[in-house]
């Protein structure tokens, strides 16, 4: 099967995404407004995707989120504040990819609820340890 | 003997200054009777060709661009196919796609009497049956033939221009609009004597029955005499008949089918009676249309008679070497009579004759099958009411003739000649056409 798109379309398409990124990034820098681009819903074939990735490159930060329900790979691109995210389900099937324009992608930040739960858990664990310690005295 | 200059006796009854009535009426039928008669008259003609043509029009209007009446006036009412409007309505009611539905619902869409009266001007005054529109129609509709059919219903309804009607009645009464057999013999003998030609009349047996037109008896005497001169020269056994001398057919022009039949069968039957193999028609256009191409309407089977136009006859004789001609020299242009050329198929015959006469033919811009009508065909010449319009059309033709710069102007139809002569009178233009036959007669080598 041959569905090779012609070069110009590829270039035009990539150009459009990059232009959008530049606008959003400038907006982020000046106003702090974050944005996302859903790559799944953009019609991109593998060559186009590769071209986009090549252009964005890889920056300083790489992170992996792994939990019971799946996995998310995050890395910052060559452009600070521009992040690439790839979400996988628990069977490593790619669910979707997106570009986040943010100081830190939302998903990397610890959620207050999770933090509260963690604090509670930590407190409980400490209490338990103290109790154990006393018992050992 | 009185010799009229007006070839169509009697002279006009109404002076030219009288306002031209919008239409004429004959008879004392009620309006309803007229509509009914017209409708039935139309319906009688709804044969296959008519049916096909009534269905095929796409209303493109191209025909207007071929019609001299539209071209000179730019009045869209003269668009040829529109002249058939009442005829078309009758067709739609009788055989059109919705005819059964209309009859079922009792819708009477027949043309009204007002419409028929209005259309009289279009069917008679502004159509010369020249058939030029037929040659432009992308659907190939023979509009000229349909207008001729439409005249049948108009005649039956008594809605014919008076002048045309009177000539027709004259012809009905006497067998010729010229006059009685006795008057013919008197005039023929007078011309024969004047031109010193032997004109045999009423021979019991002859091979060729020569016929004539009132125009020759009344004005173009030389043409009448020259026909005899040529036949005598060729040594044929020929005759004219006091009962069948009239080639002109006003039944054909006015829409009187009965008269058309009577005039045509008179010629054919007389020829059969005297054992003639040929009816020779004079230089007359519609005579050719009526006798050569419509005689079959009245006969169940073929008759042992050929109908020849004078031009056709001369072409044959010259071609066979029986007539030898001395060269005339000169340049000339030729006016193609519609009924002989475009509608008669004799496009080359007159050209061959001109060549045999050594004449250098300069064609008009529009010539041959696409030449313009003189403006007087189809009964328009006899229809005094149509004169103003006719003169406009004449102008168009005149310009084309002048543009050739030819020394001579020749034609082969007496009716066309008279139209041009009238035009000359009217406009002071001094260029009347010569008769092709007379030219042949004048230049025969003994």
């Amino acid at each position: 099967m041959s569905l090779a798109p012609d070069k110009e379309t590829t270039d035009g398409f990539i150009q459009a995404i990059l232009a959008e990124l530049a606008t959003r990034l400038a907006e982020l820098a000046s106003t702090g407004i974050e944005a996302q681009i859903d790559l799944r819903s953009l019609p991109m074939d593998p060559p186009k995707r590769a071209a986009l990735d090549a252009k964005l490159g890889k920056g300083d930060v790489t992170a992996t989120i792994a939990d019971r329900a799946g996995r998310t790979e995050v890395f910052e691109t060559r452009y600070a504040g521009v992040w690439r995210l790839a979400h996988y389900d628990m069977h490593d099937t790619l669910l979707m990819e997106e570009i986040a324009i943010a100081p830190v992608p939302d998903i990397l930040r610890a959620d207050p609820t999770d933090m509260a739960e963690a604090a509670a858990r930590l407190g409980a664990e400490l209490a338990l340890d103290t109790k154990k310690g006393h018992a050992n005295d | 003997m009185e010799i009229h200059t007006d070839h169509h006796a009697p002279p006009p009854l109404t002076p030219k200054t009288d306002p031209v009535p919008p239409y004429d009426k004959q008879g004392d039928m009620t309006d309803e009777e007229r509509v009914d008669a017209a409708f039935k008259g139309f319906v009688k003609d709804f044969g296959q060709d008519v049916a096909i043509h009534m269905e095929a029009c796409i209303h493109c209007g191209a025909c207007a661009h071929a019609c001299h009446f539209y071209q000179t006036t730019e009045d869209p009412q003269y668009t040829p196919i529109r002249k058939l409007e009442p005829f078309r309505k009758a067709y739609q009611r009788e055989v059109g796609p919705f005819a059964p539905l209309m009859r079922m619902l009792g819708i009477d869409s027949r043309p009204s009497v007002e419409e028929l009266q209005e259309w009289q001007h279009l069917i008679y005054d502004s159509c010369t049956l020249c058939g030029r529109c037929t040659t432009i129609c992308p659907m190939g509709i023979d509009i000229a033939d349909l207008v001729k059919s439409a005249r049948h219903g108009m005649y039956d309804a008594g809605l014919v221009p008076d002048r045309l009607s009177k000539i027709t009645r004259n012809a009905e009464a006497k067998g010729s609009q010229f006059g009685t057999p006795e008057e013919f013999i008197e005039t023929a003998n007078a011309i024969a004597a004047a031109f010193n030609v032997d004109i045999p009349i009423n021979k019991e047996k002859a091979d060729i029955l020569l016929t004539t037109a009132p125009g020759e008896l009344e004005g173009h005497h030389k043409a009448f005499a020259d026909a005899g001169k040529i036949l005598n020269k060729l040594g044929y056994n020929w005759t004219m008949s006091s009962e069948a001398f009239e080639a002109t057919n006003f039944g054909y022009l006015s829409g009187n089918r009965e008269l058309q039949k009577r005039l045509t069968t008179a010629l054919i039957d007389k020829a059969v009676e005297i054992g003639a193999h040929t009816v020779l028609l004079p230089e007359c256009g519609h005579a050719y249309g009526a006798a050569r191409w419509e005689w079959n309407l009245w006969y169940e089977k073929d008759v042992p008679v050929k109908v020849l136009h004078m031009t056709e006859f001369l072409d044959q004789e010259v071609g066979a070497g029986r007539i030898k001609l001395k060269p005339v020299g000169n340049t000339a242009t030729f006016h193609d009579p519609c009924q002989i050329v475009r509608r008669g198929g004799l496009t080359q015959a007159p050209r061959r004759l001109l060549k045999a006469l050594g004449i250098d033919l300069i064609e008009m811009k529009d010539h041959g099958d696409f030449g313009y009508c003189c403006g007087g065909g189809g009964g328009a010449l006899a229809n005094v009411r149509a004169a103003p319009l006719r003169h406009k059309v004449f102008d168009l033709k005149r310009k084309q003739i002048e543009d050739t710069g030819a020394e001579r102007f020749i034609t082969s139809c007496g009716q066309c000649r008279i139209t041009f002569e009238r035009g000359c009178q009217e406009t002071g233009w001094d260029h009347p056409p010569e008769s092709l036959m007379e030219l042949v007669a004048d230049n025969m080598i003994d």
Partner: protein, 219 residues
């Protein structure tokens, strides 16, 4: 039942039946109509009636040079939309599939995008024809309801077809249904109005050509 199902099924069946009945009825009633009389014997050396008929049908495709100037623009435009209609109807892949569906006949198609272009040109050309009909005094005086109605029924399928392929105005299946229904309307009307010239031009040119050819005149 949805509109498209109605269009693809009963509507087309009814339209085809009426079209066939209408055309066959109109043509056969013309062909069965007797000639009122015999023909005058032909001039010697003229072509046979059959030959004259065929020659007449083809000779009228091009106007005689005498008239070429006066009818040029009008004829050119007529040619544009007639050829355009022909291409759109018979050389567009889906239409060939449609015809193949009930005849089993198939032939090569033109690329779709080319046919879309032709469709657009056809609509414009029909628009020009209408504008001329509404402004030219000669055509105006000849125009009847049939002319406008036939025009509308001719332009509608092309227009709806263009809407279908471009997805303008409604959902695809609705547009397709309207497109098919507009074709049904065209087929139903065709035998009863001026559109019948699709078939009648053959007879009309033919009979006049025979009449004049027998006389030795040119048609």
């Amino acid at each position: 039942m949805e509109l498209l199902d109605f269009a693809r099924g009963p509507a087309l069946t009814i339209a085809f039946a009426i079209f066939a009945i209408g055309v066959a009825w109109r043509l056969s009633s013309l062909l069965f109509t007797p000639r009122p009389h015999r023909r005058a014997e032909a001039r010697e050396g003229t072509p046979s009636d059959a030959k004259a008929f065929v020659r007449g049908v083809f000779s009228r495709f091009i106007p005689h040079k005498t008239y070429r100037d006066v009818v040029f623009a009008n004829h050119l435009n007529a040619y544009v939309f007639h050829i355009g209609l022909f291409i759109v109807v018979f050389l567009y892949r889906p239409h060939i599939l449609f015809i193949e569906g009930f005849t089993g006949l198939s032939w090569p198609a033109l690329p779709n995008t080319l046919v879309y272009g032709v469709g657009l040109v056809t609509v414009v050309s029909l628009g020009v024809a209408l504008a001329r009909r509404m402004t030219n005094p000669v055509q105006k005086i000849l125009t009847t309801f049939d002319d406008y109605f036939s025009w509308a029924l001719t332009v509608l399928p092309v227009l709806t077809g263009l809407l279908v392929v471009n997805g303008i105005g409604a959902r695809y299946e609705t547009l397709l249904a309207l497109h098919i229904l507009s074709v049904c309307a065209l087929l139903i009307w065709l035998p009863f109005g001026k559109l019948m010239h699709t078939f009648l031009f053959v007879l009309s040119r033919g009979v006049t050509s025979v009449r004049l050819s027998r006389r030795g005149a040119t048609f």
